[in-house]
């Protein structure tokens, strides 16, 4: 196999095609399969194809191998080479063409991987069959060259990304990325059930929503520019679809096309975008039931409390939270809001006032400081409109600048505030 490719195209191809191999999941693998999981397969014939896989993710990047696309085919073939090393080397080159050339070894070597405790069958042996020489040359006619191990593995999975998949919806990359950034802060960084470290995608009436939650708060964004919505899919699933937030953010960061297409297949989400196809395992949608559903959220009725200036609220909140960083009492009275902080540590109680406009209901509620401070980062409005649910257990915020955003936070039961609450 010999071919020449533009460096900037190759780096993008490696990031996308080698997404699985470059993931933490693959790079930290210690099993016998580690050399393969950490590698990408580069095949060139009519198309240049770069693909990789782990047990949770598989990714494929492909493009016509033509000179117009910046790919110069000399000799077709296929190699499996370590992704991280190749990516690191390619990213060090700049504005140049890169040549890849496979050099076969006369003495192929069977490698058993890092974990010798379990044996691979003969049919699934990983062999080191040679090396791939990588060379770069820029406008100055100079560059660098390196050599990487090349493996052979008969069972390298070639995923068929189109077979039996159920199309879910298509949306614009830019809009989806923005929506994701608004809801991601409400998710946990890690949840061993992989429910609350994920964002949900759910349909309500005719709209598609993306939501993030840590059980105690919920941020919701109504997706815009959504097309080809598969209604029968959403009718067939009992709950929403969950996708790991960090993974999805990484995917969106690498996305470069205009549109992105989501499909579903046996607890896996297939994401297709221009030359890039990804398949990601997701939580079994029929098993989990602890993620708040839109039906439950929208069934609650909320009434207005009042409008508070964002900058004043931010200032007062940061002041009172000097005493209690976790939970504070919001006391909405006629024309003013008083925020109280009482600590268990023995510090003197702290309080601050803020003006309230258009007050409709006098309310006292204990809320988590973090929930409010995250809200202030998401919402860009000059004034924050507070709503309270009829049962008094949660508050809601809707942005007037971007009506697609809504944010819900549950109250905190803290007996330290019982006297102020009149209990």
């Amino acid at each position: 196999m010999i071919f020449l490719i533009n460096q900037n195209l190759f780096i993008k191809a490696l990031e996308q095609g080698g997404f699985a191999a470059l993931s933490d999941d693959a790079q930290s693998d210690k099993s016998n399969m580690a050399p393969i999981l950490k590698s990408v397969r580069i095949s060139i014939d009519e198309d240049l194809v770069i693909e990789s896989f782990t047990s949770l993710i598989s990714s494929k990047w492909s493009m016509k191998a033509t000179e117009d696309n910046g790919i110069y085919l000399k000799e077709k073939g296929s190699v499996i080479i370590p992704a991280n090393e190749l990516y690191a080397w390619v990213s060090k080159q700049s504005k140049c063409k890169i040549l890849l050339k496979f050099v076969e070894s006369k003495n192929p070597e069977v490698i058993s991987g890092n974990n010798s405790d379990y044996n691979l069958d003969n049919g699934t042996l990983i062999k080191k069959i040679g090396s791939v020489k990588v060379m770069s040359k820029d406008d100055t006619k100079t560059g660098s060259q390196w050599s990487l191990d090349c493996y052979e593995y008969d069972e390298f999975i070639s995923v068929n990304y189109d077979k039996n998949k159920q199309h879910v919806f298509t949306t614009e990359v830019e809009k989806f990325t923005e929506a994701l950034s608004k809801v991601a802060s409400s998710c946990l960084l890690e949840d061993y059930n992989h429910v609350f470290d994920s964002v949900s995608i759910e349909k309500h009436e005719s709209d598609i929503y993306i939501g993030g939650s840590d059980k105690h708060r919920f941020s919701l964004y109504k997706l815009q520019s959504v097309s080809n919505i598969n209604d029968s899919f959403f009718e067939s699933v009992t709950r929403n679809v969950l996708i790991n937030t960090i993974l999805l953010r990484k995917i969106m960061k690498l996305s470069s096309g205009l549109n992105i297409e989501f499909s579903y297949l046996d607890n896996k989400i297939v994401i297709v975008q221009d030359n890039w196809k990804l398949r990601v395992s997701v939580v079994n949608i029929n098993v989990f039931n602890s993620f708040p559903s839109l039906k439950m959220i929208f069934s609650k009725t909320y009434k207005k409390i009042g409008l508070v200036s964002k900058s004043i609220l931010s200032n007062r909140l940061s002041t009172v939270s000097l005493v209690n960083k976790s939970s504070v009492l919001f006391d909405f009275k006629k024309d003013s809001l008083t925020i109280h902080a009482i600590s268990e540590t023995g510090s003197s109680p702290n309080q601050a006032d803020a003006p309230v406009k258009d007050i409709e209901n006098e309310v006292k509620i204990v809320l988590a400081v973090r929930h409010l401070s995250d809200l202030l980062k998401i919402i860009k409005d000059e004034y924050i409109q507070f709503y309270i649910s009829n049962d008094g257990r949660s508050v809601k915020f809707i942005s007037s600048e971007d009506e697609n955003i809504s944010y819900y936070a549950m109250k905190v039961d803290n007996p330290k505030y019982n006297t102020l609450l009149g209990k």
Partner: protein
């Protein structure tokens, strides 16, 4: 009315406690489990997290781990757990082993008072996973090992369980883990040989025992295989070399007593008394073994030692100065044979492999002389090889082979 306990306090061995937590999570998996690390969260955080409402009205278990040894913290937890209800349960886990237990006096008063405060909650449950057994304990640890094997429908004899404790140590989690592993492969009745062959040595003296056991077979190839096994499992060459040197020094002592004409039984009790403190007790021929044990343990107390030295030995009190800051235990410690059955092992090697193998070739006196000469040469060679192992890393393995070869060559 829910029968689920709350608050639950889990104390004792961290590994066994972790298993209790794991099983509890599994048992009450319809509850949502929220873990709070008291080291990373303030008491305000703990209060807020415990009191946070959820969208779905789920039942919650609040697991508080890494307890802090602070009065405020204890008081706060005692007050917090009173808010237990059918939907809110508390598990307090002393994962950092702040609560310690003295074998004689039990749990320290401050923590015991706090536990008594928690006990006032109607559904309080204390899960004590047990603490490590004291260093000199055999009674409780041996019966613990026996009971664990019994749970797995296996029977272990008392001598074997004593050796088991010596090899594995007195940490409960290590004991449980080793018993579980051994139960898979063990016969119905477990004897000393099975324990020696299969227990994983967790201390230096246990390595000494297992490696020494192979050396004392007098079989060169078996000893070399054992040496390589220990080297490949990460035991340092210096430790193995030191083991052979120690054994050759003890062997030299045995041979020296034998040269003096002592019988095997007397030699064994002599080497067991070697290095033991105080020498005036251990080398007093008029005392029986049990008297020596009793007296020596009494004299380990400073006050008893002072009165012994002044009243029995006639040393004036102003001549005796107790340095409280110095590590008295270290000063008192001489080189002893770490475990009594090792003396058996040394004697059995001496009798079977040295005396019995060579006695037909020599007269009694010649045999005693030659045996001592072999022991001296063996000891000198081993100390030379130890130097090589310590200071010349390249020939470490060769030096160890040389020592093993000399030890297994039993001809005098």
């Amino acid at each position: 009315m829910s029968m689920i306990p709350s608050p639950v306090l889990i104390i004792g061995d961290p590994v066994l406690s972790q298993r209790t937590v794991f099983l509890s999570k599994k048992k009450y998996n319809d509850f949502s489990w929220i873990t709070i690390d008291a080291n990373e969260n303030t008491i305000d955080d703990i209060r807020s997290i415990s009191g946070m409402n959820t969208f779905e009205d789920s039942k919650r278990f609040i697991l508080i781990k890494n307890l802090q040894n602070k009065k405020d913290f204890r008081e706060f937890i005692a007050e917090l757990v009173q808010s237990s209800s059918d939907d809110l349960k508390f598990v307090i886990w002393d994962s950092s082993s702040e609560i310690k237990s003295d074998p004689k006096t039990g749990i320290n008063k401050t923590w015991q008072d706090w536990i008594n405060l928690l006990k006032k909650n109607e559904k309080f449950v204390l899960v004590n996973s047990g603490f490590d057994f004291p260093d000199n304990d055999y009674k409780d640890s041996v019966s613990y090992v026996e009971s664990l094997f019994q749970k797995n429908n296996k029977k272990i004899d008392p001598v074997a369980s004593k050796i088991f404790i010596d090899i594995v140590g007195r940490n409960r989690a290590m004991i449980v883990s080793e018993v579980n592993k051994l139960s898979i492969i063990s016969p119905q009745n477990i004897d000393r040989n099975f324990v020696i062959d299969n227990c994983y040595p967790s201390s230096k003296s246990a390595v000494l025992y297992q490696f020494g056991n192979d050396l004392d077979s007098g079989d060169l190839s078996k000893s070399i295989i054992s040496l390589e096994k220990f080297l490949s499992s990460g035991i340092d060459a210096n430790i193995l070399a030191q083991i052979i040197v120690n054994k050759s020094r003890w062997h030299l002592a045995i041979c020296s007593f034998y040269k003096e004409g002592l019988d095997f039984y007397t030699i064994k009790s002599k080497i067991l008394g070697m290095g033991k403190f105080p020498s005036c007790v251990w080398h007093n021929d008029q005392l029986t073994d049990s008297q020596k044990n009793k007296l020596a343990s009494n004299l380990n107390e400073d006050e008893n030692m002072i009165s012994f030295m002044s009243l029995k030995m006639g040393i004036p009190l102003n001549y005796i100065n107790v340095e409280k800051k110095s590590n008295i235990k270290t000063v008192r410690k001489g080189e002893v044979i770490p475990m009594p059955f090792m003396a058996d092992m040394m004697m059995s090697y001496f009798q079977d492999k040295i005396v019995n193998t060579n006695k037909k070739n020599y007269s009694d006196q010649d045999l005693r002389n030659n045996i001592l000469n072999r022991a001296i040469n063996l000891y000198l060679l081993c100390t030379e090889c130890l130097k090589d192992v310590r200071y010349n890393e390249i020939s470490q393995k060769e030096s160890l082979y040389e020592m093993v070869k000399a030890w297994t060559n039993t001809t005098v």
